[in-house]
């Protein structure tokens, strides 16, 4: 027998050209060089152009007097004395305001529509389907124009305001709510309300522990209602009705008094809410469909009613599927709130990228700050959602 040489076969020495590692380095270095060159030339062009155009640079404008007015502001702001920096905060807070309210409303509406689309009620399911299909297939900007120009603007002028119950007035200058004023003793009501809220939450927590331990159920809803609504109401009567309302009334051109909600805000809020809700509805529907039918059948077999099945069995499981896309819908809503600029709502983009950019001419700084804000909001939101998502996912075992 001949012996086969057992010498291991040496892998052929590949030329450096074909070494994947070397190639990788070369590719990366080349890309880095290209990107670096692009950034460098863009920056040097920008510096050159800015110098040629005599545009100031840097963030010195932040402390300069703004000199313009904004109608909706959550912090004091006036043409006299306020700075561009304050204008930034006014815009940012307005963005956050409309986004946060919009997220809450869109979530409720979206869950309702999403569940309605799966409802056994034929007509409800069809209406929900039409709603989702129509809203999702139309540009948001068109919808905002519709709400603002076609729905809110044709409302009557302040002299012929539509009177809604409880002294609320509606006209083409906005929605006017009575302004509650606390008289002496009124703060007690607020205090009771807050205490009631804390009590209700504590009770709910306790009741849940109890239910887990003993299986005994408590009427959490009723007790919470009593603590949060009935108790403060009693205090209100007891203290001799110490809250008075300033009702809006006609003075000159506009209504005076009361809380004014601007039509731009309403249009933006309604537009964002209905638009995002349609997307959330689809997310919810997909999430519910992802829960296997056996789960709800088992729940029914255990004697749970359809409502309880949904609440206790289906939704908690669906949430795991729902949360990631829900997050991106929340972020979309926040980003879409920048369309405010089209209908004159003073959000960050309108105030800062619009007016401030024009008054200062410092496009690079202003656009960079605006983008940084949205990036931060995006990153923070996804961070929180990831944490929540992890907690939800852990339930899985």
């Amino acid at each position: 027998m001949t012996t086969i040489p057992t010498e291991p076969v040496q892998p052929g020495k590949a030329s450096l050209l074909y070494d994947p590692k070397i190639r990788g380095y070369v590719y990366q270095l080349a890309l880095l060089a290209v990107v670096g060159f692009l950034i460098y030339s863009a920056a040097s062009n920008a510096i050159e152009n800015l110098r040629a155009q005599k545009i100031a640079s840097g963030f010195g404008f932040w402390h300069n007097a703004a000199g313009f007015d904004v109608n909706q502001k959550l912090i004091p702001f006036s043409a006299s004395g306020s700075t561009y920096g304050q204008a930034f905060w006014v815009g940012l807070l307005n963005t956050l305001l409309v986004a946060s309210i919009g997220i809450v409303l869109a979530t409720f509406l979206g869950f309702f529509v999403g569940v309605a689309r799966l409802s056994s009620n034929w007509i409800l399911a069809k209406i929900a389907m039409v709603y989702v299909e129509v809203i999702r297939n139309l540009p948001l900007l068109l919808q905002l124009f519709f709400w603002y120009n076609a729905v809110l603007k044709p409302l009557p002028n302040p002299r012929q305001s539509i009177e809604l119950p409880a002294g609320i007035l509606l006209n083409n200058r906005g929605l006017y709510l009575p302004d509650p004023q606390l008289e002496p003793g009124g703060s007690l009501i607020v205090l009771t309300f807050l205490l009631g809220l804390v009590g209700a939450i504590t009770f709910r927590y306790w009741a849940r522990k109890q239910q887990e331990a003993t299986g005994k159920q408590y009427p959490v809803g009723w007790i919470a209602l009593g603590l949060v609504v009935v108790l403060p109401f009693f205090v209100y009567l007891l203290m001799g009705r110490p809250i008075t309302f300033i009702y809006p009334e006609l003075a000159g051109f506009n209504l005076r008094g009361g809380i004014q909600i601007f039509p731009e805000f309403v249009a933006l809020l309604v537009g964002l809410t209905t638009y995002t809700a349609a997307f959330i509805a689809e997310v919810v529907r997909a999430g519910i469909l992802a829960v296997s039918k056996g789960q709800s059948e088992a729940a029914h077999a255990l004697g749970l009613r359809p409502g309880a099945t949904l609440k206790l069995v289906v939704i908690p499981q669906a949430m795991r599927v729902i949360i990631p896309p829900l997050t991106s819908n929340y972020l979309n809503l926040t980003k879409n709130s920048s369309l405010a600029v089209a209908i004159g709502y003073p959000d960050l983009v309108q105030v800062f990228t619009g007016t401030v950019l024009n008054q200062t001419g410092q496009a690079v700084e202003v656009v960079a700050i605006t983008m940084a804000v949205y990036l931060t909001i995006s990153l923070v939101t996804s961070l929180f959602m990831n944490i929540y998502n992890k907690r939800m996912a852990l339930v899985e075992r």
């Binding site: 062009n45 297939n137 990036l375």
Partner: protein, 458 residues
């Protein structure tokens, strides 16, 4: 003992038979359907009644406004004013009819609008070619849509000396390429004829013109397209039409098409970059994708509008329409990259390993094995991104481009058609347009999804 047990569990155990229930009225037929689906319980009944009330009150009103009371013909606002007509007036479709040309072409010069029409026709051809499943020569279609169409559209829509020069270069280049291929396809057989060493491949059995035709269709098509445009240029002339005059649906489709044509390849590159094992490439891709996805499109457009001119040398100052195009294309690319990444992740590892074991390099593996499968899976996602992109084209309004929505808005301030119902009509028309486009795309994506699912079922 047993007694005690039953005593304790008495809750669940029934001792006597229940009385028989009456037979259900019907379990089939319309009445049963109505009962099961509309009135199955008190809550459902209330919901049904509320919904029915909403439908009954709103639907006839909508039909009345948009159809029965609508005005269909007229030349100015008098036709749509209730006082002048003497009856309640609904939608003023006469206004849409009167301004329709403007909605389609914007301010594009009337005598030059045939150029837009040709581009529209080419666009439609390209879309049908690519989307229709049984269309022949898909590769040719892709070449047409992604290369020929943009170039032809650029030359046709813009015109002027710049475009004519480009056309001349392109024709020269294409003819040169055609010549090279011609020689290449003749040469071997000529050589074989003279040397006698005939290589009898099937390919070489074909007559030379066919041999030229088959693999080199792309060049032939390019030659035909450019030739036709050149003939148009010579006979009718293509004077320059500045982008400031472009508007209406033309611009809307233009932005959408540019977004599609550029975002798809760019998205593929970014997705591959993000999945790359090379850390720097991955990092740069991630930064770009997450940055763009983290900011609103409108800030990207503002950036393109105000900062792009700063980033390039002064004498390059990009055209006003080009800026939002760049912005939209980059924006869409980031979203596209995420969709495609989803497809790449869905490809089982075995496919990669199989490709590598065949000795394919990275690019060949991607081109031949992975991407065809990955892209196929994510067609619905891609179409959905296009729907979003199409809706987002409206945002260019805000940076002063006259897209379709902007032309509607512009006509709303025109006193010629200032009537109480013009606005509702204009928005309804816009809504119909966008709805048809987006809904059509989503239907298409659903049908593709079905077809793909059918393939998966086996």
């Amino acid at each position: 003992m047993t007694d005690a047990t039953t005593e304790n569990a008495a809750f669940f155990v029934r001792r006597e038979t229940l009385p028989q229930e009456a037979a259900p009225l019907s379990v089939a037929g319309p009445l049963a359907w109505v009962r099961a689906n509309l009135f199955s319980g008190p809550v459902n009944t209330i919901l049904t009644l509320v919904c029915a009330y909403i439908v009954v009150t709103s639907l006839p009103e909508i039909i009345r406004f948009y159809f029965l009371d609508a005005v269909w013909t007229g030349s100015n606002r008098d036709a749509c004013l209730a006082e002048k007509v003497g009856r309640p007036v609904g939608a003023c479709w006469a206004y849409v009819a009167d301004r329709f040309q403007y909605f389609v072409y914007g301010s594009y010069p009337v005598t030059q609008r045939w150029r837009v029409n040709i581009v529209f026709a080419m666009f439609a051809l390209g879309v049908v070619w690519l989307l229709w499943n049984n269309a022949p020569l898909k590769k040719l279609g892709a070449f047409f849509f992604f290369v020929l169409l943009p170039i032809s559209a650029y030359i046709l829509l813009l015109g002027g000396p710049g475009a004519q020069n480009l056309l001349r270069y392109l024709i020269i280049a294409t003819v040169a390429l055609a010549g090279v291929y011609m020689v290449l396809s003749f040469a071997p057989s000529l050589l074989g004829f003279y040397t006698g060493a005939a290589q009898l491949a099937v390919e070489h059995e074909l007559p030379p013109w066919k041999r030229f035709y088959r693999p080199k269709r792309l060049i032939l098509m390019a030659l035909v397209a450019f030739g036709l445009i050149a003939i148009l240029d010579q006979s009718i002339g293509l004077p320059r039409v500045d982008t400031g005059l472009w508007g209406g649906m033309t611009v809307t489709f233009l932005i959408a098409a540019v977004g599609i044509v550029f975002s798809l390849p760019l998205g593929v590159v970014l997705a591959l970059g993000r999945r790359s094992r090379l850390p720097i490439i991955q990092l740069l891709s991630v930064i770009f994708i997450e940055f763009v996805r983290g900011v609103p499109l409108i800030t990207v457009l503002f950036m393109a509008n105000t900062m792009l001119p700063l980033f390039v040398p002064q004498e390059w100052s990009p055209d006003r329409l080009l800026r939002p195009l760049v912005g939209v294309a980059l924006f869409a690319a980031a979203y596209m990259a995420e969709v495609i990444r989803g497809g790449l992740q869905a490809i089982p590892k075995g496919q990669y390993e199989g490709a590598m074991s065949l000795g394919l390099g990275y690019w060949n593996m991607m081109r031949l094995i992975i991407l065809p499968q990955a892209l196929r899976i994510v067609i619905p996602g891609i179409v959905n991104t296009f729907i979003g992109l199409f809706k987002d084209t409206t945002l260019v309004t805000i940076v002063g481009i006259f897209d379709f929505l902007r032309t509607i808005e512009a006509t709303l301030v025109d006193p010629t058609w200032a009537t109480p119902t013009t606005r509702a009509t204009g928005y309804a028309f816009a809504a119909i347009f966008y709805f048809l486009c987006c809904w059509g795309m989503s239907r298409y994506s659903i049908s593709v999804e079905r077809r793909l699912a059918a393939g998966q079922r086996r």
